[in-house]
Structures are given as structure tokens and as C-alpha cells.
Symmetry: C2
Subunit: 205 residues, 2 copies
């Protein structure tokens, strides 16, 4: 079996992925979140959009069957298998500014925004395209008053979520560099890409 | 008193606004939503971000005291007065594709995305900067399961929400072109800008 590729703790990687492929993101040790971003190869400014995804899915909870849309309303990824069921599309990727403003960090800190933009930048994606990311395994409680609370991820070691690519994409995945959202320590993820293995009918809710 | 400027039904306008100014958006007839987008004049790719705003405010409900942040984590707008209290930052601006996918429209339809990008384009803002907008008066219910439902706006005629600019901005406002979110008919809004009248301490929660 294709073992996939490791995304070391606090880092990010990106791949060019053909249409109808499967991208499985595996939480190797458990309780680790990651950021997933995608952009079609035919328009490097048409990145993933939480607003468009909420528009068409009419929900902020995304799991098997959910389609993730681009800014220009094109389907990019469909969740075809989800062993966990808790993901977040509200929070922006952690960034240097977030560590400074939110946690008082003064030194450079590894962060998902820079890891996404650096890995996608290698394929020519402008940094400004990355405005948001789909936060796999991130466990966010939304209160009745709209308040947000970050809880420890509910993933056990080896659990995964799998996406089907709906067109040719550049897909980036980070192992989130924060410790608060990851049960106290930043850990790796593993990504297994199986080209052309996604059935068009998989994951249709 | 400064009467402000009308934003006719289904249209959009944009202004260059100095720091510490007040931007009041008035629902002239009642039950009408609008999209507000802002970008700092010193970086036309650093647009408004719902994810960053949720990051720092830790809530999806924004009202008096809430700060709206840019993609690069800079404060752009602070809500300093809010006569309504129901706004949305989850849904993306209505677009031609949304009318086609969501409502089966086949002809060109006026839409907030094109109205935002056209009005800001006059100031040189790249269309790709507009990924989301703050939807004033848009009344969205979020279910316990994360499901989203659009309800009629709760605004009475003449009610308003007022923002303070936290730096020099280009601010665009549309009167939303959809009818579903606007109580059955698209109506105008009015925008009153008072340059330099915003106190730095106003609106601090």
C-alpha cells in the first residue's frame, strides 16, 4: 500500500494532484490538526473559500458528502470519507501575527499561513490567494451566542479524512504549528494521494 | 446634517476614507441587507477576512465593539454603534454563479460580488482581493448542528450600523441584489461618511 508522505510537525507540503484523485490526511499520533488549502491549476487566484462552501452547503459543519468550493464557486474538493467528523472552516490559518497578537510571542514562530504560502509559492500561487484554510481535525465549539471555543482534537492515532479532487489542483497540507489546538504538542500528519482513484459518485450525500 | 449618499437597489459604491472616520450604513426602507468590504490603501491585497475576525474576536456574532480584521491581521473597521445587532460574516457575497447554482438563473443577474469588485476596481483593487464581505443586517440563524438558515432582516426603516475606520481604507458598500435575504424585494441603502469624527476610544468593548 502507498505509505504516503510525512508532513513533519510545524511544516507544510504541497502537491499537484490530478482530477478524481483521493487525498487522505492521516493523524499519525492523534489529537493533531492540519490546514488544507487547494487552488485549481487553471486559475491560481481561485482559492478555497469558506463563504462559498457555506453558501452552497448551508452548514458550517462539514463531513462526508460536503463539497469545498472556490472563491469563484467551483467545486474543488469533496469529503468522501471521514473517520473523525470534527473539522473547522471558521478560523484562519495560524500566522506570525496571530502568535504575536493572541499569545504575546515576540520571536519568529513556525505557522500554517507561511507554511501554506511557501509550499504553494513553489508552484507559483500568489500569497494573497491564501485567505483561509480548511482545518482538519480542529475541534471548535460554537455557542448559542456565536462564541467560539477551541477544544482538543477528537482524533485517535491513525484516523483520517479523505478528499476527492474535483479538478486538477494544487493541494497544500500543514501539520499545525500551534500547541493549543493540538492537545498540547505539535505533531506530524501523513498525506496519502492516490491518483485517479476517486469515483465521481463517491461522497455524494 | 450630512445626508450621506444613496446606494441604489442592486448596486454598489466605494469611497476612499481617512483613518478615524465614521461610516454609517442606513437601511432606508427597512429589511434590506448590504455587503461591506474594506481594504487598506497601503496594500490592496490585504482585504477584509472573516477568519481573522473570528480568530481575534472568538465569535461569529459581531456587533458594537467588534473589530473587523484584514487577511494580514490588521484592524480595518470597528463597529462603534449598532441599532440592529444582526449581521453575518459567514456567507460570501451573492454572485452570478450563486444565482445560477442556487436559484437556476440563466440570464445575467446584478450581484454583490460584481458590484464590489467593479466599485473597488476603480481604485485599483484586484478582483481576487474580494473573497468575502461583512453582510450588514443579514439575519442568519445557526442551528446546533451547524445548519444555516437565512431569515428576513430585522431592521426597521432608518436603522443603521456605524463603523470607525482604523486606517486609511477603500470601503465598498452594496445594496444586496438578492430578494430572498431582503424580505422579498431589493431596496437601496444610504451611506453617511463623517471624516475624522471617530474617537479612538469609541466602541471598545
Amino acid at each position: 500500500m502507498n505509505p504516503g508522505e510525512l508532513v513533519p510537525a510545524m511544516s507544510g507540503r504541497a502537491w499537484r494532484v490530478p482530477p478524481r484523485s483521493l487525498v487522505e490526511v492521516i493523524d499519525v499520533e492523534g489529537s493533531q490538526t492540519g490546514d488544507v488549502f487547494a487552488v485549481p491549476t487553471d486559475d491560481l487566484e481561485d482559492g478555497l473559500s469558506n463563504g462559498r462552501t457555506f453558501d452552497y452547503g448551508e452548514s458550517i459543519r462539514l463531513t462526508t458528502g460536503s463539497v469545498l468550493y472556490s472563491r469563484r464557486s467551483r467545486p474543488l474538493l469533496t469529503i468522501v470519507e471521514d473517520e473523525v467528523g470534527t473539522h473547522d472552516f471558521l478560523w484562519a490559518p495560524c500566522s506570525q501575527e496571530m502568535y504575536e497578537i493572541g499569545y504575546g510571542v515576540t520571536e519568529p514562530h513556525p505557522n500554517c499561513l507561511d507554511n501554506l504560502t511557501a509550499s504553494l509559492g513553489g508552484f507559483g500561487v500568489p500569497a494573497a490567494t491564501v485567505t483561509i484554510a480548511f482545518n482538519v481535525f480542529m475541534n471548535v465549539a460554537v455557542g448559542q451566542d456565536g462564541g467560539l471555543a477551541i477544544l482538543p482534537p477528537a482524533t485517535a492515532a491513525g484516523q483520517s479524512v479523505t478528499f476527492r479532487t474535483e479538478r486538477e489542483l494544487l493541494v497544500a497540507v500543514t501539520a499545525c504549528a500551534a500547541t493549543t489546538a493540538n492537545g498540547g504538542a505539535a505533531k506530524p500528519l501523513r498525506v496519502r494521494i492516490t491518483e485517479g482513484a476517486g469515483s465521481p459518485t463517491q461522497g455524494r450525500a
